[in-house]
Symmetry: C2
DNA sequence: ATCAACAATTGACATCATCAACTGTAGTTG
DNA sequence: CAACTACAGTTGATGATGTCAATTGTTGAT
């Protein structure tokens, strides 16, 4: 008899709650590597993108203010997990690229996070997880629901 | 062509991102009422629970440290949206109950939040939303997957 | 009467979010 | 070229949040 509260049916609340659960889990898994959830996100986004990524882009993808990226990259750079170099094409941009050490750490981090996350998805089927991913992507990245299909239709750019 | 980053397929990341999107939306919707997402959550949980709720319970439901509830209730109490009274049965507990004014504000808040949220779910069917709710509940409240089924088993009152 | 367990509270401290201001670079216009 | 605008990154201030240890008051049991 604790259900029935409108709040516990509210998607925003459930998202926040579920997100918190996963974040804690990931946080614990990453601690031994000296990473936090945020720095791991940066590392992961930079990984497998040999050309380097601008900080602006990182900020946009992570949904953060660009100013917050600075400290994250500072830390990763200080530990030689990423490099930060001005873009030759446009010296305003700084291209963040991963180092070999960073790549290794990133791999370990992925494994740890995945292992830690698995426990939370036990009751859910793989198809349901895919479905969940799909829906969350639509909510998290609304304007780019063009990812997998007709990327054309919208003349403008929504919002 | 920006997809394919493992991170953007990671459920933890997607949850955090989607949660952030909804939270901002709700935050803007609630600002005119002088509420934040957190205080709205408290208000909503207290509403429709005439008997009053202990702060411990609020903390557990919201996934917060009990110490954080104090300030939230302080604020709501100061504005006469809730009352805080010692439980006659066990004077350690304080029962938080809603006031008439609180009930009214809560209703407005719900409408505003719902209106603001709707925009984020446009592309998703009602059944998918139900499904989403269901899965999120499983992730957010793992031990209580009894919600929809044998909610009886525990003689007590959950938790 | 003493003790352990618990709810609420306080305070300290680190993290994070939000914004405004500043620097350096690029592109445009006169 | 000079002046202007626009942008990426950076810094700093300020408030909100998360986390934890310690305290107070209350309960229940010994």
């Amino acid at each position: 008899m604790h259900a029935n509260h409108p709040l516990t049916e509210d998607l925003g609340f459930l998202l926040s709650r579920a997100s918190g659960v996963l974040a804690r889990s990931a946080s614990e898994a990453l601690a031994p590597l000296g990473l936090r959830v945020r720095s791991y996100s940066v590392l992961d986004l930079v990984d497998e993108d040999g050309d380097g990524v601008t900080q602006r882009r990182l900020a946009a993808t992570m949904g953060l203010d660009p100013s917050q990226i600075v400290a994250l990259v500072d830390d990763l750079e200080k530990r030689d997990l990423v490099t930060r170099a001005p873009d030759p094409t446009d010296r305003r941009n700084k291209l963040i690229a991963i180092t070999e050490a960073g790549h290794q750490v990133c791999r370990q981090a992925r494994e740890r996070v995945a292992a830690a996350s698995d426990g939370h998805f036990e009751g859910v089927s793989p198809q349901d997880l895919d479905h969940l991913r799909y829906m969350l992507r639509r909510i998290a990245f609304p304007e780019s629901d063009l990812d997998d299909r007709e990327a054309v239709a919208l003349g403008g750019h929504g919002n």
